[in-house]
Amino acid sequence: MAVVIDLIGSTVIAAMILLSVFGLIGNLNHTTVEKTYCLNMQTNIVTLARIVEYDLLKIGYHVSKPAILYADSTSLSFKSDLHKSGDSVIVRYSLSDLLQSTVLATQNPRDRMFYREETGQPTIEANIGLTYLKFRYLDSLGVETTDLNAIRAIHVKIGIESHDSMEVCTETECTEDHTSAMMYDGSFWEKTIYPRNL
């Protein structure tokens, strides 16, 4: 009888330990996914920030005026001898709308495609979870302007979120389209860039 009780007791304890281990592994897995999203998002925003800085600092280099061809809050087009090769190129930044097919395939309802077009180069179509992009244009006194010839500085603000959510709702709480009660890892970067050739 004592042996049977020992067997039952050890089985129960083993089952509890196994459950704890599985729970721990589940949590570790969740943390790993979170870390991966965070890393991807951070890599994306740093890469995008460096591309934007690299390009915008060269606006107007060795080209005739006007150097900025088009400017609004989410798109920008400018001229530059971007690669110091003696050739003037036109660079254009723009965003897709929210219904673009690639971004529709992601869980995040706010992300958009980022496009970078450059004369003679393949267009970069980046699906990096861009949820916010805003350009503001400042004149020599730091006052916002829409006059392309008066622009002396460009304030850029970028927001990126993970494609997929860290689900924080229970199955019953989540809405059918999974848009509420979702959490996305996100990060912002902003900077005022002063292209010296303007």
Binding site: I25, L28, T32, K35, L39, V46, R50, Y61, K84, N197
Partner: protein, 340 residues
């Protein structure tokens, strides 16, 4: 049973190690991302600061390459200055990150008056006197004052009124140039910029207050052709005399106030600005011909006195004036292009 437990424990250890390593790896990559961007911005800031430091160094000697350490990184600025154009490349290193900026700048003097004559007198009713074998020559000499260029000659003296030109014309036998005297009522007024020259002076000589005569003995060098300087000789009011007894050679801008006497060899290349009453006295020199090669501009209240004595000469030289324009402290820079 014991061996099974051992295997289970070892298996869990391996599993947790794998998870731990994976998480640590993500942490490291995150840190690398952040630190990589920080290194990039640090290197960029150093490269930009190095440009500013190199421009500041232009005031001292303006030699390239110019290098140093800043904010935990290093920088080297290479460059070349030709006339009014300055090209520089700044390379900064921070940790393993390198950042390079290339720029071309237009440099120009601020402020720098045009005289348009060997001697410009911005004085109403000037008391003008030339004694001995003094000479004012508006023909264009090279910057050493030894060779005539053959072009670019100007008038010997410019005044701001016909009345004053008549006063000066009385000494026409001691004046050469495209004409002896011209009238230009827009002649630059030294009062507008002399304060900046004085504030930027590299060398300054002041008469001792209350003493009728202050003597500076010994030879002096006030700048060179490759590194022109600003010198301020301040004799104070007309009751003082400032006297230099040694050999003096200077390049750049010389600001003179009051009665100054040179009794040694004197040779100045560039722009001489005289304000208030002044007597430039070269009398009593043992040998040689005291020369101002470039141009002299004088301003002051009505009836200010300008007098040249002895064997002194003012020889116009556009080269010497151009040289004086590029005194580092007086240069302003404008970006022509900038690549980073």
């Amino acid at each position: 049973m014991g061996s099974q437990s051992m295997v289970t424990v070892l298996g869990l250890i391996v599993l947790f190690s794998i998870f731990n390593n994976f998480l640590n790896d993500k942490e490291r990559l995150c840190a690398d991302n952040t630190y990589g961007y920080a290194k990039y911005t640090a290197a960029r800031d150093i490269a930009r600061s190095a440009i500013h430091l190199a421009l500041k160094n232009m005031e001292v000697d303006g030699t390239f390459p110019f290098s140093g350490s800043l904010d935990g990184g290093t920088y080297t600025v290479t460059g070349v200055a030709i006339a009014d154009t300055l090209r520089m490349t700044s390379t900064a290193n921070f940790s393993d990150t390198v950042y390079t900026i290339s720029t071309t700048m237009w440099r120009y003097p601020k402020p720098f008056p045009g005289v348009g004559a060997a001697l410009g007198l911005n004085i109403d009713s000037v008391e003008f006197m030339m004694k001995g074998s003094a000479l004012i020559d508006g023909r264009n000499y090279d910057s050493t004052g030894t060779t005539l260029v053959g072009s670019g000659d100007v008038a010997g003296v410019t005044t701001i009124s016909s009345y004053d030109s008549a006063t000066v014309a009385a000494f026409g036998s001691k004046i050469n140039g495209s004409s002896d005297v011209t009238v230009d009522d827009s002649l630059a007024d030294p009062a507008l910029f002399v304060d900046e020259y004085i504030a930027s002076a590299d060398y300054r000589f002041d008469a001792i207050a209350g003493q009728p005569q202050t003597v500076f003995a010994g030879n002096q060098v006030w700048g060179t052709a490759t590194s022109p300087k600003i010198t301020f000789v301040n004799a104070g009011d007309s009751t003082n005399l400032l006297k230099f007894t040694g050999t003096i050679e200077g390049w750049g801008i010389l600001v003179v106030k009051g009665n100054v006497q040179w009794s040694g060899t004197f040779e100045f290349h560039g722009l001489v600005v005289v304000y208030s009453d002044a007597v430039l006295d070269f009398e009593g020199m043992a040998a040689g011909t005291p020369q101002i090669i470039g141009s002299l501009l004088m301003g002051g209240p009505p009836h200010s006195e300008f007098e040249m004595r002895g064997t002194s000469e003012i020889l116009y030289s556009s080269d010497a004036i151009d040289n004086a324009k590029y005194i580092g402290k007086l240069l302003a820079y404008r970006i022509v292009d900038w690549y980073e």
